[in-house]
């Protein structure tokens, strides 16, 4: 591509364009002025079919030629108004970017009243508004469903948004903050630091917290490891810490799976959960509607 960005190419293109237009005009003019005098034999192309069927070689009808002239007028007008000749920007200063921004501005102006209505409502009220829910579902299916699934119940590594279990908190303001700024969760990899034995013990202890089947002896050893290694984030009782998104380990809800194998993997290799920040892309109005929808999902049973 960079080959075509030099000084030379815009001039090259402009010259070809202008020469072509002039050539078309000249060709048209030379073809349209040829007249046949009265009494002379008409021009024929020399093609003969079926013995005596000849083809006339006459100029086009006048109105037709004028249509061609009109295309030349159009081309000249277009190239004057719009950027078509090399680097010349055109009288209208049109750019595709400018048009896109104008369209966006027009759209946000058109939808502003709808969003303004929701901006004035509390998020629980937005969650109850049928129109907001419909809009929210559409936004959700567009932007969120790829990870959280169409039914918002997530999957491995992506939290279920319909239950009462929140990693960072489920109150309206926190939901808005999560969508706007995103979240980055880090569970460090402890496998190499703790060693194989301690990791296994820890996995059994973590399983015991939610009452899952576990090896009691290993769990007892694991408890000591937990008290020194994991409390910082998950707390002494393993109830987690919403401030940093450390999950509650006692509720039998597992983001990456609660089987022994899954726990070993989580502890050994760590986890890095990322929720992207949507603030810049969606803007506060859409985020408010979306937050209302998400908030409403976990309130549905009430």
């Amino acid at each position: 591509m960079s080959d075509f960005n030099g000084e030379f190419w815009p001039i090259y293109i402009s010259v070809i364009t202008i020469v072509s237009i002039i050539a078309c005009a000249v060709l048209l003019w030379s073809l349209s002025t040829r007249r046949v005098a009265a009494g002379t034999a008409p021009n024929v192309t020399g093609h003969v079919w079926d013995g005596d069927l000849e083809e006339y070689n006459n100029p086009l009808p006048r109105w037709w030629i004028w249509l061609f002239y009109l295309t030349i007028v159009f081309a000249v007008a277009y190239l004057t108004l719009y950027p078509g000749l090399g680097t010349y920007p055109g009288l209208l200063k049109w750019t595709s970017r400018g048009e896109f921004e104008a369209d966006q501005a027009a759209a946000s102006k058109a939808y502003q009243p709808i969003y303004a209505k929701f901006a004035a409502m509390s998020i629980p009220d937005v969650a109850r508004d049928p129109q907001a829910r419909e809009m929210g579902q559409r936004l959700f299916l567009n932007y969120c469903a790829q990870c959280h699934a169409s039914d918002a119940r997530g999957g491995k590594g992506f939290p279920d948004l319909t239950d009462k279990d929140w990693l960072y908190g489920g109150d309206p303001e926190t939901i808005v903050a999560t969508i706007t700024n995103g979240r980055t969760a880090v569970m460090p990899a402890w496998g190499k630091i703790l060693g194989d034995e301690a990791t296994h013990n820890l996995a059994d202890y973590v399983a015991s917290l939610s009452g899952a089947t576990h090896d009691a002896a290993r769990a007892a050893h694991g408890k000591e490891v937990f008290a020194t290694t994991c409390v910082a984030c998950h707390g002494p009782e393993g109830k987690g810490n919403p401030a940093m998104g450390a999950p509650n380990l006692t509720d039998a809800i597992w983001l990456y799976g609660g089987s022994n194998a899954a726990l070993l993997e989580t502890i050994g290799k760590g986890r890095n959960g990322v929720m992207p920040a949507w603030g810049e892309f969606l803007g506060p109005d859409k985020i408010r509607v979306l937050a209302g929808f998400v908030y409403g999902l976990s309130q549905a049973g009430q």
Partner: protein, 479 residues
């Protein structure tokens, strides 16, 4: 104008002028005609225009009965609501139209052109207005030859005002098929119609004014493709409007009391009425020509003259090549209407019509698209159950609310997680319902498994009625 007259003048002109390379249109002044076929033509004009101008005003269940709502992509025709997915019905309609054209053309030539084509119909209406304002053929020719005077200006002005008024009303009606006409009327009266509505009203109006007022037969002669290809659908048993040359020649003027046999004349009195009434300006006595739109005005005109002369009618009549030259009797000619070609067209046409009506009757006003979430790869591989999430786009195409019940089958123990309550879909609208389907890994093979969604829709106002049922296939993926 001087140049034009020079080119039309004989070759004796002294100064060398350019030859005209193209035919210059000669304005046609069709003479008014009355008779059986003219009456039929008016019946078709009234019927088609009653439908066109009247239908948009009909109401049906508190909405416009016939409305093609392009913005919402819903097409209402009385009790039926068509969605874009029903486009097949549009193609079937076009096929029915095409076969009808084949059939009618094979039987009686260009009857469509002569009686029902909008170009003919609007030309007929516009010519009627012209006749009311400017008078019949001779009066109009005289008026056009006159220099512009107050009277000529008034007559021409009145005609164009009436034409434009009718054309604008036509444009308004046309747009009224696509946007509710009552509201549109209010908008127009308040000068608040939208830019596209205004554009189409003016465009369609202008097209009507131009085609029916100015272009007229030129549309049929130079622009219309059907005019040209209908000719190839004729055969020697097709009824076409024909001058009976054997009976008419030699033509010539004579007194009513003269014995035409004695003076060696045929039945044609060469009055020229058949040429004067022709809307395309041809002389039917020269035989079948591509310009002939089959309007039968010349038949009516000639029959009147034959009556006056005391000769039998039908010097110009609907007849076939075989009847005229092949010595087939009138009965034989009518019998040949039921020839194999016509029977084949009729059979095909009726089969399509019946099949369409049956499918329309059987049509389930419920459509479902199933789209699987691709994120199922992420689902916990350790769990005993495999899960897939689907979006069901349920389209309730009828104008009653429906309660949808969704079931899934195809694998042992497969079920929809959680949701069991019915989903209500508003009349003539669609809804996206996400569902999570769960099946024991033991009953599903690795890879893609075929499953079926069954959607049953009941009418909450009439729960006793049998529910509508749609079955959609989907893939259930297990890693």
């Amino acid at each position: 104008m001087a140049k034009l007259q020079a080119t039309l003048a004989p070759v004796t002109t002294v100064e060398p002028v350019d030859q005209a390379l193209y035919e210059v249109r000669k304005k046609i002044y069709p003479r008014a005609v009355h008779g059986a076929f003219a009456a039929w033509r008016w019946i078709f004009v009234l019927l088609t225009q009653l439908v066109f101008y009247g239908v948009p005003w009909l109401q049906w269940n508190e909405r416009q009965a016939v409305l093609f709502d392009l913005a919402a992509r819903k097409f209402y025709i009385f009790g039926l609501v068509f969605w874009p997915q029903d486009v097949v019905y549009l193609s079937v309609l076009l096929i029915i139209c095409a076969f009808s054209l084949f059939l009618f053309t094979a039987v009686a030539g260009r009857v469509w052109c002569g009686y029902a084509c909008p170009q003919t119909v609007y030309t007929e209406i516009f010519m009627w207005i012209e006749r009311q304002v400017e008078g019949d053929r001779l009066a109009r020719m005289k008026l056009d030859k006159q220099k512009l005077s107050a009277r000529k200006f008034a007559l021409k002005g009145t005609k164009h005002v009436l034409w434009i008024a009718l054309a604008l009303w036509t444009g308004f009606t046309f747009v009224g098929f696509f946007t509710p006409i009552v509201a549109l009327g209010g908008e127009v009266l308040n000068l608040q119609a939208g830019p596209w509505e205004t554009f189409w009203m003016l465009f369609y109006g202008l097209a009507t004014y131009g085609n029916a007022g100015w272009m007229r037969e030129q549309v049929c002669k130079y622009m219309c493709p059907y005019a040209r290809f209908q000719g190839v659908m004729f055969d020697p048993d097709t009824l076409v409007i024909t001058y009976d040359r054997a009976r008419g020649e030699s033509r010539g003027a004579r007194s009513r009391s003269a014995d035409r046999k004695a003076i060696g004349l045929g039945d044609c009195v060469d009055c020229g009425i058949c040429v004067q009434v022709c809307p395309t300006g041809i002389d039917i006595r020269n035989g079948l020509q591509y310009e002939c739109i089959g309007c039968a005005a010349c038949i009516d005109g000639c029959d009147q003259v034959m009556d006056k002369m005391g000769y039998p009618k039908g010097l110009i009549r609907y007849t076939t090549e075989n009847a005229l030259h092949g010595g087939i009797s009138t009965r034989g000619m009518l019998k040949r209407i039921l020839r194999p070609r016509v029977l084949v067209y009729t059979t095909i046409l009726w089969s399509i019509i019946v099949a369409t009506l049956v499918t329309l009757y059987e049509r389930v006003p419920l459509k479902v698209n199933v789209i699987r979430d691709r994120g199922s790869v992420m689902h916990d591989a350790d769990a005993r159950e495999a899960q897939n999430v689907y979006r069901l786009r349920i389209m309730n195409t009828q104008e009653v609310a429906r309660d949808m019940r969704i079931a899934v089958s195809g694998l042992e123990g497969i079920e929809i997680e959680g949701a069991s309550q019915a989903v209500r879909v508003a009349p003539a609208s669609s809804l996206v319902v996400p569902v999570r389907v769960e099946a024991p890994r033991a009953s599903a093979a690795k890879g893609s498994n075929r499953i079926e969604f069954t959607i049953e829709a009941t009418d909450p106002a009439h729960p006793e009625r049998a529910p509508l049922r749609v079955v959609e296939n989907a893939s259930f993926v297990v890693q």
